[in-house]
Amino acid sequence: MSTISMSTISLFLDEERVASGDRISGKLSYPTQTPPQEVMVELLWQTEGRGTRDRQVVDTCLIDPQQLTLGFAIPFTVQSPDEGPITYNGFLFRILWEIRATVVLPGMVAKKEQQTQPVSVICRRS
C-alpha cells in the first residue's frame, strides 16, 4: 500500500524543450536527514482529450537515496525516444510529456511524494 502526499521535492530541468531522441537532464533536491527508501525520476507521456487515456513511462533514472541526505541537488538524466511521440496540442486530444520525480519514504506504509514538471518534446530536424 502507498499514499501520495503533497511534495517538498524540487525539480529543475536544464531544458524544457527538447528534440525527440535527446537526453533530458536536470536536478532534484529533497530536504531530508534520513535516506528515503527509493528515489526515481521518470520520463513519461500521456494523452488527454476525448479518447481513452494512454500513458507510458519511457525511461527511468534511479537515484541513490543516500545522496539526498547530503543536502545537494542531485543531477539526473533520462532519454527521450527517437520515435516520439512529440508534444501535441490538438482540438480533440493532447500528448503531454512530463518528468516525474518520486521519493518513497521508509516505513511500513510506503508513503510517496511526487513532483512533476512538464516538458515539450519537438520533432528532430534532420
Partner: protein, 214 residues
C-alpha cells in the same frame, strides 16, 4: 506581453491562457461523475436493493445511461456488468440484492430471460441501461418494471452543465476567459442530437480552439 517563463508555460499548456488548468471536457478514465458536476434531472435518488423489480433507463447512445448507472452503483453497491458488442455479450448477467446491467439490449434473449428469472427468485433489483424496451421479457417472468426515459437535454441544461465543468478546472485567483453563451449552447445542443458524448466532443473542440487561439 507575456514574460519568457509564462509564455513557455502557455506553449506547453494553452489552457493557461484561458485561466484553466486543462480542457474542461476531457474524457475521464472513469465514467462516474463527481458529485459537484452532477445535474439532477429528477431521478438521481438511487433505487432500493431487494425490491424485486427491473428499472430500465432508456435513452439514445451517449444520453448518460452509464453515468447514471455508475452514480447509483456508487451509492448502493452491487455488481456492474457491461455488455460489449460481439461474442463477449454471451455471458449470464449477475443478480444479487442489486445489479447493474449496462447495454442490456445486447444480452441474448435467452440469457436475459434466465437472468430476470433469477432476479425474481432472489427478489433482486435489476437496473438496466438500454436502448430498447426490455419490459416484454420482464413481464414474461413476472418482474415488475419501472421505466425511466432519459429525455434529450436542451440548450439551457447544456449551458449549465458546460459552465459547471469550466468552473471545476479554473485556476484559483485567475480570471477565467471561457464561458459557454446561449447561442453556442443552442448550436451544440441541436447538433448533438441528445448525446452528451457528442456534445462533449464538440465542446472539447470549441474549448481547444479558444485556447490555441488565445
Amino acid at each position: 506581453m507575456l514574460k519568457g517563463s509564462t509564455a513557455a508555460a502557455h506553449r506547453l499548456n494553452p489552457y493557461l491562457s484561458l485561466g484553466l488548468q486543462r480542457n474542461p471536457f476531457v474524457l475521464e478514465d472513469s465514467l462516474a461523475i463527481a458529485p459537484s458536476l452532477w445535474i439532477d434531472r429528477g431521478y438521481s435518488a438511487p433505487p432500493m436493493p431487494r425490491a424485486k423489480q427491473l428499472i430500465q433507463l432508456i435513452g439514445v447512445k451517449g444520453a448518460g445511461k452509464t453515468s447514471h448507472l455508475k452514480r447509483w452503483q456508487a451509492q448502493t453497491g452491487g455488481t456492474y456488468c457491461y455488455y460489449p458488442p460481439g461474442w463477449q455479450r454471451l455471458k449470464m448477467p449477475d443478480v444479487g440484492p442489486i445489479a447493474y446491467w449496462d447495454e442490456a439490449d445486447r444480452i441474448p434473449f435467452a440469457y436475459l430471460l434466465v437472468g430476470l428469472l433469477a432476479a425474481v427468485g432472489d427478489r433482486s433489483t435489476i437496473v438496466a441501461g438500454t436502448h430498447t424496451d426490455l419490459s416484454r421479457a420482464a413481464f414474461m417472468v413476472g418482474l415488475p418494471v419501472k421505466t425511466i426515459r432519459i429525455a434529450r437535454f436542451d440548450d439551457a441544461l447544456l449551458q449549465q452543465w458546460a459552465n459547471r465543468r469550466i468552473e471545476a478546472v479554473k485556476i484559483a485567483n485567475v480570471a477565467c476567459r471561457l464561458r459557454l453563451d446561449s447561442k453556442k449552447a443552442k448550436e451544440i445542443a441541436a447538433d448533438a442530437n441528445g448525446s452528451w458524448r457528442e456534445a462533449a466532443d464538440q465542446l472539447h473542440v470549441w474549448a481547444a480552439r479558444r485556447a490555441i487561439a488565445a
